[in-house]
């Protein structure tokens, strides 16, 4: 497969792994967080951890858009879907995310709510056009990557004067979440977690560019290497981070130069800025309230805002008290440290957010890597 196999070349992978092992100080330790769920998935699926030296640990961050959706927003979406006359459109992954009291959109659908799985925001627009009698609500989620398509759908709806199309906006921002993790007491004061550097998001960075990460590199003195999602990308980024740590540098570097520019995608950014504005704070599952981390529709586009049209109320609901998702997302704990992991919490019956999507830290570990826990226990 062209443009994919090249980045999975076993020979090059082994050469890079050998170089990392050669350059990483065996007496030192390197804790790198991959923020993005796409990296978590790639690392697990390709067994990349097995290729890294023992002194190097990858911490799976909160960058799984489905995983960070708080229970209150899911509950609100379910209530929206249950309203007569409403058709709720959403991406497939979201359907299984548990709300409070064992609910989910999938269950609401089975009970009769009109929930439809879409592949593109424009599918939702097409449904609204084809079924003018229905109130079509796009349950929009995701980071900077999925925000421009939502903006596009809203702009098209405005152009067409579609009165039955609204967006329940849950778009969130990557830099705010990274800052929240770096500001967490475990990291700053308690010293319970170490993060020596970040593997920066791939697709998110195609939109926002590498510039927004400069702040972390300077303020927190942590190197950031923006990387693609292929195995060779991840390994090369790890090598670049090891070198920065060894040389005492903390810079923003771009491994994913074939797709990411310093300024990102200007047109997409303009489109988003035209339609959305920052919320004062937004709740993240696992992280809690994070200031200036979420987007909502501007007043000009209020007619397309489902929260305004349907008076959506989001009541914050706690996760299961035994759920360690918050600590896992911040790198304080590993999936296997959670009492629920693999017992009552599995991908079939997820309790916490990290188990929901294949990109979540727990789901990735359960699906691809749990055999390593056995080895860890044995040793």
């Amino acid at each position: 497969m062209k443009f994919a196999d090249e980045y999975r070349d076993a020979r090059l992978v082994h050469a890079l792994a050998a170089r990392i092992a050669g350059e990483a100080d065996p007496a030192g330790s390197y804790h790198f967080m991959e923020f993005c769920g796409g990296h978590t998935h790639a690392i697990s699926r390709y067994g990349i951890e097995d290729l890294l030296p023992g002194s190097l640990r990858l911490i799976h961050g909160p960058g799984c858009p489905v995983c960070v959706l708080p229970v209150g927003r899911i509950d609100a979406a379910i209530r929206l879907a249950e309203r007569p006359g409403v058709t709720l459109c959403t991406y497939g992954d979201v359907m299984r995310v548990p709300g409070s009291r064992g609910t989910s959109l999938l269950r609401a659908k089975a009970a009769g709510a009109d929930v439809r799985m879409i592949y593109s925001t424009l599918d939702a627009l097409a449904i609204a056009e084809a079924e003018p009698g229905r109130e079509v609500v796009l349950f929009a989620i995701g980071f900077e990557t999925t925000t421009p398509p939502t903006a596009l759908a809203i702009r098209r709806a405005a152009q067409k004067g579609l009165a039955n199309f609204t967006v329940f906006c849950n778009h969130v921002l990557t830099p705010a979440a990274i800052q929240n993790i770096l500001d967490s007491p475990e990291l700053r004061h308690l010293g319970r977690v170490r993060i020596d550097g970040f593997i920066g998001p791939a697709h998110v960075s195609t939109v926002i560019g590498t510039e927004p990460y400069s702040f972390f590199a300077e303020e927190f003195e942590k190197p950031v290497v923006v990387a693609g999602f292929e195995p060779l990308d991840v390994l090369q980024a790890v090598l670049m981070l090891v070198r920065q740590v060894n040389e005492g540098r903390h810079e923003v570097e771009n491994q994913y130069g074939r797709a990411v520019r310093r300024d990102g995608n200007r047109q997409a950014k303009v489109e988003v800025a035209e339609i959305f504005e920052l919320r004062k704070s937004f709740e993240w599952r696992g992280l809690g309230l994070v200031p200036y981390s979420g987007l909502r529709l501007k007043e000009t586009y209020a007619a397309f805002d489902a929260e305004r049209r349907f008076d959506v109320e989001c009541v914050s609901a706690p996760d299961n008290p035994a759920c360690e998702c918050g600590a896992i997302l911040r790198g304080v704990k590993r999936p296997a440290d959670c009492k629920l992991f693999g017992t009552v919490c599995t991908p079939e019956t997820p309790m916490g957010s990290c188990m929901v999507s294949a990109e979540g830290a727990c789901a990735a570990h359960w699906t691809y890597g749990r055999f390593r826990d056995r080895a860890r226990k044995a040793s």
Binding site: M1, R8, H14, A17, G47, I48, D50, E348, A363, R370
Partner: protein, 348 residues
């Protein structure tokens, strides 16, 4: 069906299924005669009974039943009719058996075009003739519009197992080899390429095919060493191996590099975020074979047109946790877990 007593010919070109076609009156008899008997014609159907009577030579019989709800009904490389014949034959054949007869039940949705129904029945008849396994009895029901999706088919198959052969999912032992008859994921991706909202351009066709000939060749070559066979349909190869691991209380270790995947399938999976290990097949089988019979069975598979790309993809290992593990292309390890949730609804 004897003298035709109805006045007007069935308007196959423009007509549609209506509720009278399931009501037990002349319209139903006409539909069955003009579409199903015409397409599936054989001596049993010609007798027009509510059941088919046949003699058996004796020996060990196998029986299987299967429902088909694939969407879309027509896809590259097949349709629901041929799929129902192939799928049921394969379920019989996986016991090492020679399939003998099929039965088919049709649930039709009011409003379904008769032309498409005829196309499906003809395709079913062609598949049955080509495989030498006739559909000898059937049933037709019509439900109101919106209560089904065009056509659902339910088929039953029976067959006879050669003497001395007893394949079963609890017979896998550590050290056994895992053989796969060809490339994985072709059917699922071909069907998906024609889905509404998702359609993409590909020349890929479904691998839908009857596997009883391939099975017969494998049994002849190394029947004594065959532990179990499965056709990895829904849930793909991953589901099949996890089932076998559970039932035999072993683990499996696969080699990613040995897995045959067509470049088109790999590319489509990449695009859609799928893993070929979980994508459905309709013309492939997995055989678990004792080490001493492995080479002979593999050679027999490769000599058969439906097993040309057969490969040894791994082996059974001792593992009380019954994990299916895979060595990735770079020598890392990962689990090949059950599919959670629904990757692709209604693929067969």
């Amino acid at each position: 069906m004897t003298a035709k007593t109805y006045r007007r010919k069935l308007d196959i070109r423009n007509g549609r299924v209506d509720l009278s076609h399931g009501a037990g009156g002349r319209a139903m008899v006409q539909l069955i005669a003009d579409i199903f008997h015409e397409a599936l014609d054989n001596e049993w159907l010609r007798r027009g009974n509510d059941q088919a009577a046949f003699d058996l030579a004796g020996g060990r019989m196998v029986m299987t039943t299967d429902g088909y709800v694939v969407s879309p009904l027509f896809f590259p490389g097949g349709d629901i009719g041929s799929l129902a014949v192939h799928g049921t034959i394969n379920d019989v054949a996986m016991a090492g058996a020679r399939p003998l007869y099929l039965a088919a039940g049709f649930i039709l949705e009011e409003g379904f075009p008769l032309a498409e129904l005829k196309r499906i029945a003809d395709s079913m008849g062609a598949a049955a003739r080509a495989t030498g396994v006739p559909v000898i009895t059937g049933d037709t029901k019509v439900v109101e519009r919106g209560k089904a999706d065009g056509v659902f088919i339910s088929t039953t198959g029976i067959g006879v197992v050669p003497a001395g052969l007893d394949l079963s999912a609890d017979k896998v032992r550590p050290g056994d080899r895992v053989l796969l008859s060809g490339t994985i994921g072709d059917h699922g991706i071909a069907v998906m390429s024609k889905r509404r909202n998702l359609s993409f351009e590909t020349e890929l066709v479904s691998d839908s095919a009857p596997l009883h000939g391939l099975v017969a060749a494998m049994v002849r070559a190394g029947g004594h060493g065959l532990r179990v066979m499965r056709d990895p349909t829904r849930g793909g190869l991953a589901a099949t191996l996890n089932e076998l691991a559970q039932q035999s209380a072993v683990g499996f270790r696969l080699s990613e590099a040995a897995l045959p995947v067509k470049p088109e399938v790999a590319a489509a999976c990449e695009l859609l975020g799928l893993d070929p290990l979980y994508v459905a097949n309709e013309g492939k089988l997995v055989a678990i074979v004792a080490p001493d019979a492995c080479e002979a069975v593999l050679a027999a598979m490769r000599a058969h047109p439906l097993g040309r790309d057969a490969a040894i993809i791994g082996g059974a290992v001792d593992d009380e946790q019954r994990f299916v593990q895979m060595t990735t292309g770079f020598g890392g390890g990962r689990i090949v877990d059950w599919l959670s949730g629904e990757q692709l609804p209604r693929i067969c």
